[in-house]
Protein backbone atom coordinates (compact mmCIF):
# COMPACT_ATOMS: atom_id res chain seq x y z
CA UNK A 1 0.00 0.00 0.00
CA UNK A 2 1.43 3.29 -1.08
CA UNK A 3 1.73 6.22 1.14
CA UNK A 4 -0.85 8.85 0.15
CA UNK A 5 1.82 11.50 -0.23
CA UNK A 6 3.39 9.44 -3.00
CA UNK A 7 0.35 9.83 -5.16
CA UNK A 8 0.70 13.52 -5.94
CA UNK A 9 2.10 13.01 -9.42
CA UNK A 10 -0.44 10.40 -10.34
CA UNK A 11 -3.18 12.61 -9.02
CA UNK A 12 -1.92 15.51 -11.07
CA UNK A 13 -1.90 13.34 -14.17
CA UNK A 14 -5.29 11.86 -13.40
CA UNK A 15 -3.86 8.38 -13.15
CA UNK A 16 -5.67 7.25 -10.04
CA UNK A 17 -8.75 5.10 -9.91
CA UNK A 18 -11.93 6.79 -8.75
CA UNK A 19 -11.43 5.24 -5.37
CA UNK A 20 -7.85 6.28 -4.99
CA UNK A 21 -8.71 9.72 -6.20
CA UNK A 22 -11.39 10.17 -3.58
CA UNK A 23 -9.03 8.90 -0.95
CA UNK A 24 -6.30 11.21 -2.03
CA UNK A 25 -8.61 14.19 -2.07
CA UNK A 26 -9.51 13.41 1.46
CA UNK A 27 -5.84 13.24 2.27
CA UNK A 28 -5.32 16.60 0.59
CA UNK A 29 -7.57 18.26 3.08
CA UNK A 30 -5.29 17.35 5.91
CA UNK A 31 -1.89 17.40 4.21
CA UNK A 32 -0.63 20.86 3.46
CA UNK A 33 2.56 19.45 1.99
CA UNK A 34 0.68 17.71 -0.79
CA UNK A 35 -1.44 20.76 -1.40
CA UNK A 36 1.66 22.87 -1.79
CA UNK A 37 3.27 20.34 -4.05
CA UNK A 38 0.26 20.29 -6.28
CA UNK A 39 0.13 24.03 -6.39
CA UNK A 40 3.80 24.10 -7.27
CA UNK A 41 3.34 21.57 -10.04
CA UNK A 42 0.57 23.65 -11.53
CA UNK A 43 2.59 26.78 -11.30
CA UNK A 44 5.73 25.30 -12.77
CA UNK A 45 3.90 23.71 -15.67
CA UNK A 46 1.46 26.53 -16.34
CA UNK A 47 3.39 28.04 -19.23
CA UNK A 48 4.46 24.81 -20.88
CA UNK A 49 1.58 24.78 -23.36
CA UNK A 50 3.02 27.95 -24.83
CA UNK A 51 6.04 26.01 -25.97
CA UNK A 52 3.87 24.22 -28.53
CA UNK A 53 4.75 24.81 -32.15
CA UNK A 54 1.89 26.54 -33.91
CA UNK A 55 -0.08 24.19 -36.12
CA UNK A 56 -2.89 25.37 -38.34
CA UNK A 57 -6.16 23.61 -37.59
CA UNK A 58 -7.73 21.78 -40.51
CA UNK A 59 -10.26 23.47 -42.72
CA UNK A 60 -13.75 23.64 -41.36
CA UNK A 61 -12.81 22.57 -37.88
CA UNK A 62 -14.44 25.56 -36.30
CA UNK A 63 -17.79 24.86 -37.90
CA UNK A 64 -17.62 21.22 -36.96
CA UNK A 65 -16.61 21.83 -33.39
CA UNK A 66 -19.01 24.66 -32.66
CA UNK A 67 -21.76 22.84 -34.50
CA UNK A 68 -21.35 19.88 -32.20
CA UNK A 69 -21.09 22.14 -29.19
CA UNK A 70 -24.33 23.97 -29.88
CA UNK A 71 -26.14 20.71 -30.43
CA UNK A 72 -25.61 20.08 -26.76
CA UNK A 73 -28.03 21.33 -24.20
CA UNK A 74 -27.84 24.91 -23.21
CA UNK A 75 -25.68 25.86 -20.28
CA UNK A 76 -27.21 25.27 -16.91
CA UNK A 77 -26.49 28.30 -14.82
CA UNK A 78 -27.67 27.43 -11.40
CA UNK A 79 -25.80 24.34 -10.52
CA UNK A 80 -24.84 24.22 -6.93
CA UNK A 81 -21.54 22.40 -6.99
CA UNK A 82 -18.91 24.86 -5.99
CA UNK A 83 -15.73 24.70 -7.93
CA UNK A 84 -13.40 22.53 -5.97
CA UNK A 85 -9.74 22.08 -6.08
CA UNK A 86 -8.48 20.23 -9.13
CA UNK A 87 -11.96 19.64 -10.34
CA UNK A 88 -10.79 20.05 -13.87
CA UNK A 89 -10.42 16.36 -14.20
CA UNK A 90 -12.98 15.24 -11.78
CA UNK A 91 -15.90 15.33 -14.14
CA UNK A 92 -13.91 13.63 -16.78
CA UNK A 93 -15.29 10.18 -16.19
CA UNK A 94 -18.90 11.08 -15.73
CA UNK A 95 -19.70 12.42 -19.05
CA UNK A 96 -20.23 10.90 -22.40
CA UNK A 97 -19.56 13.18 -25.22
CA UNK A 98 -21.31 12.04 -28.30
CA UNK A 99 -18.62 11.24 -30.80
CA UNK A 100 -18.77 12.63 -34.26
CA UNK A 101 -22.08 14.36 -34.01
CA UNK A 102 -21.39 16.20 -37.16
CA UNK A 103 -24.55 17.85 -38.25
CA UNK A 104 -23.31 21.23 -37.28
CA UNK A 105 -25.05 23.88 -39.25
CA UNK A 106 -28.07 21.98 -40.41
CA UNK A 107 -30.37 24.09 -38.36
CA UNK A 108 -28.62 27.27 -39.24
CA UNK A 109 -28.73 26.37 -42.90
CA UNK A 110 -32.38 25.59 -42.70
CA UNK A 111 -33.20 28.78 -40.90
CA UNK A 112 -31.31 30.76 -43.49
CA UNK A 113 -33.04 28.92 -46.28
CA UNK A 114 -36.36 29.62 -44.68
CA UNK A 115 -35.72 33.30 -44.46
CA UNK A 116 -34.70 33.38 -48.08
CA UNK A 117 -37.57 31.34 -49.37
CA UNK A 118 -40.14 32.92 -47.15
CA UNK A 119 -39.18 36.48 -47.82
CA UNK A 120 -39.44 35.91 -51.53
CA UNK A 121 -42.76 34.22 -51.20
CA UNK A 122 -45.51 36.40 -52.58
CA UNK A 123 -48.32 33.92 -52.38
CA UNK A 124 -51.25 35.30 -50.57
CA UNK A 125 -52.47 32.45 -48.53
CA UNK A 126 -56.13 31.98 -47.97
CA UNK A 127 -56.96 33.43 -44.69
CA UNK A 128 -58.64 30.79 -42.68
CA UNK A 129 -58.63 33.11 -39.71
CA UNK A 130 -59.52 30.33 -37.43
CA UNK A 131 -56.75 30.21 -34.98
CA UNK A 132 -56.69 32.38 -31.97
CA UNK A 133 -53.82 33.96 -30.25
CA UNK A 134 -53.43 31.62 -27.38
CA UNK A 135 -52.12 32.79 -24.11
CA UNK A 136 -49.71 30.49 -22.37
CA UNK A 137 -51.43 31.04 -19.05
CA UNK A 138 -52.46 29.23 -17.07
CA UNK A 139 -51.23 25.88 -18.34
CA UNK A 140 -49.46 24.90 -21.52
CA UNK A 141 -51.09 21.99 -23.25
CA UNK A 142 -49.95 18.78 -21.73
CA UNK A 143 -48.72 16.22 -24.13
CA UNK A 144 -50.18 13.01 -22.94
CA UNK A 145 -48.64 10.16 -24.74
CA UNK A 146 -50.76 7.68 -22.90
CA UNK A 147 -54.04 8.65 -24.46
CA UNK A 148 -53.05 10.53 -27.54
CA UNK A 149 -50.63 9.31 -30.06
CA UNK A 150 -47.60 11.40 -30.71
CA UNK A 151 -46.95 11.01 -34.38
CA UNK A 152 -43.88 13.12 -34.41
CA UNK A 153 -41.89 15.26 -32.06
CA UNK A 154 -39.06 17.61 -32.85
CA UNK A 155 -36.95 20.22 -31.13
CA UNK A 156 -36.87 23.68 -32.61
CA UNK A 157 -33.75 25.71 -32.24
CA UNK A 158 -32.39 28.85 -33.72
CA UNK A 159 -29.20 30.65 -34.22
CA UNK A 160 -28.14 33.36 -31.79
CA UNK A 161 -30.95 32.59 -29.44
CA UNK A 162 -31.64 30.62 -26.34
CA UNK A 163 -35.22 30.22 -27.42
CA UNK A 164 -36.22 26.68 -28.14
CA UNK A 165 -39.38 24.71 -28.44
CA UNK A 166 -40.78 21.25 -28.68
CA UNK A 167 -43.24 20.64 -31.45
CA UNK A 168 -45.37 17.55 -31.40
CA UNK A 169 -47.93 16.28 -33.85
CA UNK A 170 -50.55 14.44 -31.96
CA UNK A 171 -53.28 12.26 -33.30
CA UNK A 172 -56.34 12.57 -31.17
CA UNK A 173 -59.61 10.89 -32.14
CA UNK A 174 -58.86 11.01 -35.86
CA UNK A 175 -57.78 14.60 -35.58
CA UNK A 176 -54.30 15.94 -35.87
CA UNK A 177 -53.04 18.48 -33.46
CA UNK A 178 -49.81 20.41 -33.59
CA UNK A 179 -48.60 21.53 -30.21
CA UNK A 180 -45.73 23.87 -29.56
CA UNK A 181 -44.18 24.48 -26.20
CA UNK A 182 -41.53 27.15 -26.28
CA UNK A 183 -39.23 28.53 -23.65
CA UNK A 184 -36.52 31.12 -23.22
CA UNK A 185 -38.41 33.40 -25.55
CA UNK A 186 -37.47 37.04 -25.72
CA UNK A 187 -40.28 39.36 -24.66
CA UNK A 188 -42.64 40.72 -27.29
CA UNK A 189 -43.52 44.32 -27.80
CA UNK A 190 -46.86 45.88 -28.58
CA UNK A 191 -48.83 43.71 -30.94
CA UNK A 192 -46.06 41.31 -31.66
CA UNK A 193 -46.70 37.59 -31.57
CA UNK A 194 -44.85 34.39 -32.18
CA UNK A 195 -46.24 32.68 -35.24
CA UNK A 196 -45.87 29.01 -35.97
CA UNK A 197 -45.47 27.94 -39.57
CA UNK A 198 -45.67 24.55 -41.16
CA UNK A 199 -43.74 24.54 -44.36
CA UNK A 200 -44.18 22.44 -47.40
CA UNK A 201 -41.69 23.05 -50.14
CA UNK A 202 -41.49 26.80 -50.18
CA UNK A 203 -44.92 27.48 -48.89
CA UNK A 204 -45.51 28.41 -45.28
CA UNK A 205 -48.85 27.71 -43.64
CA UNK A 206 -49.98 29.42 -40.50
CA UNK A 207 -50.09 26.87 -37.74
CA UNK A 208 -50.77 28.68 -34.52
CA UNK A 209 -49.94 31.89 -32.76
CA UNK A 210 -48.73 32.45 -29.26
CA UNK A 211 -47.19 35.05 -27.00
CA UNK A 212 -44.55 34.80 -24.32
CA UNK A 213 -45.33 35.10 -20.65
CA UNK A 214 -43.02 36.83 -18.20
CA UNK A 215 -41.03 33.63 -17.85
CA UNK A 216 -40.38 33.56 -21.56
CA UNK A 217 -42.66 30.58 -22.09
CA UNK A 218 -45.31 30.22 -24.68
CA UNK A 219 -47.47 27.44 -26.03
CA UNK A 220 -50.18 26.76 -28.54
CA UNK A 221 -52.18 23.80 -29.74
CA UNK A 222 -53.26 24.03 -33.34
CA UNK A 223 -55.85 21.88 -34.99
CA UNK A 224 -54.42 20.73 -38.28
CA UNK A 225 -57.77 20.09 -39.90
CA UNK A 226 -57.58 23.73 -40.93
CA UNK A 227 -54.73 22.77 -43.22
CA UNK A 228 -54.73 20.87 -46.48
CA UNK A 229 -54.92 17.15 -45.89
CA UNK A 230 -52.23 14.56 -46.48
CA UNK A 231 -49.41 16.98 -46.80
CA UNK A 232 -45.86 15.87 -46.13
CA UNK A 233 -44.56 18.76 -44.09
CA UNK A 234 -40.93 19.63 -44.57
CA UNK A 235 -40.32 21.88 -41.65
CA UNK A 236 -41.82 23.73 -38.76
CA UNK A 237 -40.68 27.22 -37.83
CA UNK A 238 -41.52 29.97 -35.42
CA UNK A 239 -41.13 33.59 -36.39
CA UNK A 240 -41.69 36.82 -34.55
CA UNK A 241 -44.42 38.78 -36.28
CA UNK A 242 -45.52 42.40 -35.94
CA UNK A 243 -49.04 41.20 -35.20
CA UNK A 244 -51.21 38.12 -35.35
CA UNK A 245 -52.26 38.67 -38.94
CA UNK A 246 -49.21 37.85 -40.99
CA UNK A 247 -50.10 35.60 -43.86
CA UNK A 248 -46.49 35.02 -44.68
CA UNK A 249 -43.57 35.50 -42.35
CA UNK A 250 -42.74 39.20 -42.10
CA UNK A 251 -40.39 38.96 -39.17
CA UNK A 252 -37.35 36.88 -38.47
CA UNK A 253 -37.50 33.15 -38.09
CA UNK A 254 -36.56 32.59 -34.47
CA UNK A 255 -36.25 28.84 -34.54
CA UNK A 256 -37.00 25.94 -36.75
CA UNK A 257 -36.63 22.26 -37.31
CA UNK A 258 -37.05 19.96 -40.23
CA UNK A 259 -39.75 17.34 -39.95
Amino acid sequence: MRNECDKVLDYFNDQLSENEKAQFEQHLESCSECREELEELRELTADLPFSSEPVDPPEGMKDRVLGAVFEEDEPVSNEEDPVVYMDEHREQKQEQVPKQSKRPWVVRGLAAALILSLVGNLYALTNNGQEQVSDPEPEPPQIEESTDQVAKRVQLKGENTQANATAAMIRQNEKELLTIQAEQLTPLQGEEVYQVWLIQGETPYRAGTFVANENGEGAVAFSMDQLPEDVEWDAVAVSKEPDANSETPQGEVVMSSSL
Binding site: S52, E53, V55, P58, E72
Partner: protein, 187 residues
Amino acid sequence: MSNRDAELYQKMIDGDKQSLEALYDKYEKLLYSFVIKLSSDETLAEEVLQEVFIKLWTQKAKYDNTKGKFSSWLVTITRYTAIDQIRGNKKHNVSLQEETDVPEEQTQSTEDLVEWKEKSAVMKQAVQKLSDDQKQMVDLFYFKGLSQSKIAEQCNLPLGTVKGRLRLALKHLKEHVSALEGGIRDA
Protein backbone atom coordinates in the same frame (compact mmCIF):
# COMPACT_ATOMS: atom_id res chain seq x y z
CA MET B 1 -6.68 40.50 -21.35
CA SER B 2 -7.87 37.84 -18.96
CA ASN B 3 -10.58 40.23 -17.83
CA ARG B 4 -11.90 40.15 -21.32
CA ASP B 5 -11.86 36.35 -21.14
CA ALA B 6 -13.76 36.32 -17.87
CA GLU B 7 -16.27 38.69 -19.39
CA LEU B 8 -16.77 36.48 -22.41
CA TYR B 9 -17.01 33.45 -20.20
CA GLN B 10 -19.71 35.06 -18.10
CA LYS B 11 -21.70 35.98 -21.17
CA MET B 12 -21.31 32.47 -22.45
CA ILE B 13 -22.76 31.14 -19.22
CA ASP B 14 -25.74 33.35 -19.83
CA GLY B 15 -26.18 31.52 -23.09
CA ASP B 16 -24.45 33.83 -25.52
CA LYS B 17 -23.13 31.75 -28.36
CA GLN B 18 -21.10 34.57 -29.82
CA SER B 19 -19.06 34.79 -26.66
CA LEU B 20 -18.24 31.13 -26.83
CA GLU B 21 -17.33 31.64 -30.46
CA ALA B 22 -15.05 34.52 -29.50
CA LEU B 23 -13.30 32.35 -26.94
CA TYR B 24 -13.03 29.61 -29.51
CA ASP B 25 -11.49 31.95 -32.06
CA LYS B 26 -9.02 33.20 -29.56
CA TYR B 27 -7.82 29.85 -28.30
CA GLU B 28 -8.44 27.48 -31.19
CA LYS B 29 -4.93 27.50 -32.51
CA LEU B 30 -3.14 27.37 -29.18
CA LEU B 31 -5.24 24.48 -27.94
CA TYR B 32 -5.03 22.65 -31.22
CA SER B 33 -1.26 23.05 -31.37
CA PHE B 34 -1.00 22.01 -27.75
CA VAL B 35 -2.96 18.80 -28.29
CA ILE B 36 -0.89 18.06 -31.38
CA LYS B 37 2.15 18.35 -29.18
CA LEU B 38 0.56 16.04 -26.65
CA SER B 39 -0.69 13.46 -29.11
CA SER B 40 0.76 14.06 -32.59
CA ASP B 41 -2.70 13.16 -33.84
CA GLU B 42 -4.82 15.59 -35.81
CA THR B 43 -8.03 13.64 -35.54
CA LEU B 44 -7.68 13.31 -31.85
CA ALA B 45 -6.84 16.98 -31.53
CA GLU B 46 -10.09 17.98 -33.17
CA GLU B 47 -12.04 15.60 -30.99
CA VAL B 48 -10.37 16.96 -27.92
CA LEU B 49 -11.21 20.54 -28.85
CA GLN B 50 -14.78 19.56 -29.45
CA GLU B 51 -14.99 17.92 -26.08
CA VAL B 52 -13.34 20.85 -24.35
CA PHE B 53 -15.76 23.37 -25.78
CA ILE B 54 -18.70 21.13 -25.04
CA LYS B 55 -17.51 21.04 -21.44
CA LEU B 56 -17.33 24.80 -21.47
CA TRP B 57 -20.72 25.31 -23.03
CA THR B 58 -22.54 22.79 -20.91
CA GLN B 59 -20.57 23.82 -17.83
CA LYS B 60 -19.41 20.35 -17.08
CA ALA B 61 -16.21 22.16 -16.42
CA LYS B 62 -16.57 25.45 -14.64
CA TYR B 63 -14.17 28.32 -14.49
CA ASP B 64 -13.79 30.19 -11.27
CA ASN B 65 -11.85 33.41 -11.71
CA THR B 66 -10.59 33.32 -8.15
CA LYS B 67 -8.52 30.31 -9.13
CA GLY B 68 -6.36 32.07 -11.67
CA LYS B 69 -6.35 33.02 -15.31
CA PHE B 70 -8.91 31.73 -17.74
CA SER B 71 -6.24 30.70 -20.20
CA SER B 72 -4.45 28.54 -17.62
CA TRP B 73 -7.68 26.89 -16.70
CA LEU B 74 -8.56 26.27 -20.31
CA VAL B 75 -5.24 24.63 -21.17
CA THR B 76 -5.52 22.51 -18.04
CA ILE B 77 -8.93 21.25 -19.06
CA THR B 78 -7.57 20.63 -22.52
CA ARG B 79 -4.63 18.70 -21.19
CA TYR B 80 -6.81 16.42 -19.08
CA THR B 81 -9.22 15.88 -21.89
CA ALA B 82 -6.37 15.00 -24.20
CA ILE B 83 -4.68 12.68 -21.73
CA ASP B 84 -7.95 10.94 -21.17
CA GLN B 85 -8.56 10.44 -24.86
CA ILE B 86 -5.02 9.36 -25.57
CA ARG B 87 -5.35 6.79 -22.86
CA GLY B 88 -8.54 5.56 -24.46
CA ASN B 89 -6.81 5.17 -27.78
CA LYS B 90 -4.48 2.26 -27.39
CA LYS B 91 -2.60 3.07 -30.53
CA HIS B 92 -1.15 6.07 -28.82
CA ASN B 93 1.54 4.35 -26.96
CA VAL B 94 4.37 6.23 -25.53
CA SER B 95 6.80 7.28 -28.11
CA LEU B 96 9.96 9.06 -27.37
CA GLN B 97 10.22 10.72 -30.68
CA GLU B 98 11.14 14.32 -30.69
CA GLU B 99 8.77 16.73 -32.29
CA THR B 100 11.11 17.44 -35.09
CA ASP B 101 8.90 18.32 -38.00
CA VAL B 102 7.27 21.65 -37.65
CA PRO B 103 4.24 21.42 -39.90
CA GLU B 104 3.72 25.09 -40.58
CA GLU B 105 5.75 28.15 -41.14
CA GLN B 106 5.56 30.24 -38.09
CA THR B 107 5.11 33.57 -39.77
CA GLN B 108 2.14 35.29 -38.22
CA SER B 109 0.79 32.18 -36.65
CA THR B 110 1.06 33.19 -33.05
CA GLU B 111 -0.04 36.74 -33.50
CA ASP B 112 -3.63 35.99 -32.78
CA LEU B 113 -2.77 35.24 -29.18
CA VAL B 114 -0.52 37.77 -27.54
CA GLU B 115 0.18 35.61 -24.55
CA TRP B 116 1.39 32.80 -26.75
CA LYS B 117 3.50 35.11 -28.77
CA GLU B 118 5.08 36.56 -25.69
CA LYS B 119 5.82 33.28 -24.05
CA SER B 120 6.55 30.84 -26.82
CA ALA B 121 10.07 31.95 -27.58
CA VAL B 122 11.08 32.05 -23.95
CA MET B 123 9.48 28.72 -23.16
CA LYS B 124 11.06 27.01 -26.13
CA GLN B 125 14.48 28.35 -25.29
CA ALA B 126 14.11 27.49 -21.64
CA VAL B 127 13.16 23.91 -22.49
CA GLN B 128 16.13 23.69 -24.82
CA LYS B 129 18.44 24.63 -21.98
CA LEU B 130 17.42 21.61 -19.95
CA SER B 131 19.57 18.50 -20.00
CA ASP B 132 18.24 15.64 -22.07
CA ASP B 133 17.19 13.75 -18.96
CA GLN B 134 15.32 16.74 -17.65
CA LYS B 135 13.67 17.33 -20.99
CA GLN B 136 12.56 13.75 -21.05
CA MET B 137 11.22 14.00 -17.54
CA VAL B 138 9.12 17.04 -18.38
CA ASP B 139 7.96 15.44 -21.59
CA LEU B 140 6.88 12.16 -20.03
CA PHE B 141 5.21 13.79 -17.10
CA TYR B 142 3.57 16.87 -18.54
CA PHE B 143 3.15 16.25 -22.25
CA LYS B 144 2.63 12.51 -22.15
CA GLY B 145 0.83 12.53 -18.82
CA LEU B 146 2.31 9.21 -17.76
CA SER B 147 1.96 7.65 -14.36
CA GLN B 148 4.84 7.76 -11.97
CA SER B 149 5.58 4.08 -12.42
CA LYS B 150 5.66 4.38 -16.21
CA ILE B 151 8.04 7.29 -15.94
CA ALA B 152 10.26 5.29 -13.60
CA GLU B 153 10.23 2.47 -16.11
CA GLN B 154 11.01 4.67 -19.09
CA CYS B 155 13.81 6.46 -17.34
CA ASN B 156 15.20 3.48 -15.46
CA LEU B 157 14.71 5.19 -12.15
CA PRO B 158 13.49 3.86 -8.84
CA LEU B 159 9.87 4.88 -8.33
CA GLY B 160 10.73 6.99 -5.32
CA THR B 161 13.17 9.24 -7.14
CA VAL B 162 10.84 10.27 -9.92
CA LYS B 163 9.19 13.05 -8.01
CA GLY B 164 12.47 14.61 -6.93
CA ARG B 165 13.86 14.48 -10.45
CA LEU B 166 10.76 15.99 -11.91
CA ARG B 167 10.67 18.84 -9.45
CA LEU B 168 14.29 19.54 -10.09
CA ALA B 169 13.71 19.62 -13.83
CA LEU B 170 10.74 21.93 -13.45
CA LYS B 171 12.66 24.24 -11.15
CA HIS B 172 15.52 24.44 -13.60
CA LEU B 173 13.02 25.26 -16.27
CA LYS B 174 11.61 28.04 -14.18
CA GLU B 175 15.06 29.46 -13.55
CA HIS B 176 15.81 29.47 -17.24
CA VAL B 177 12.53 31.19 -17.91
CA SER B 178 13.26 33.86 -15.31
CA ALA B 179 16.75 34.39 -16.67
CA LEU B 180 15.45 34.69 -20.23
CA GLU B 181 12.69 37.04 -19.24
CA GLY B 182 15.12 39.11 -17.22
CA GLY B 183 17.37 39.25 -20.23
CA ILE B 184 14.55 40.51 -22.36
CA ARG B 185 13.64 43.15 -19.86
CA ASP B 186 17.21 44.37 -19.55
CA ALA B 187 17.78 44.50 -23.25
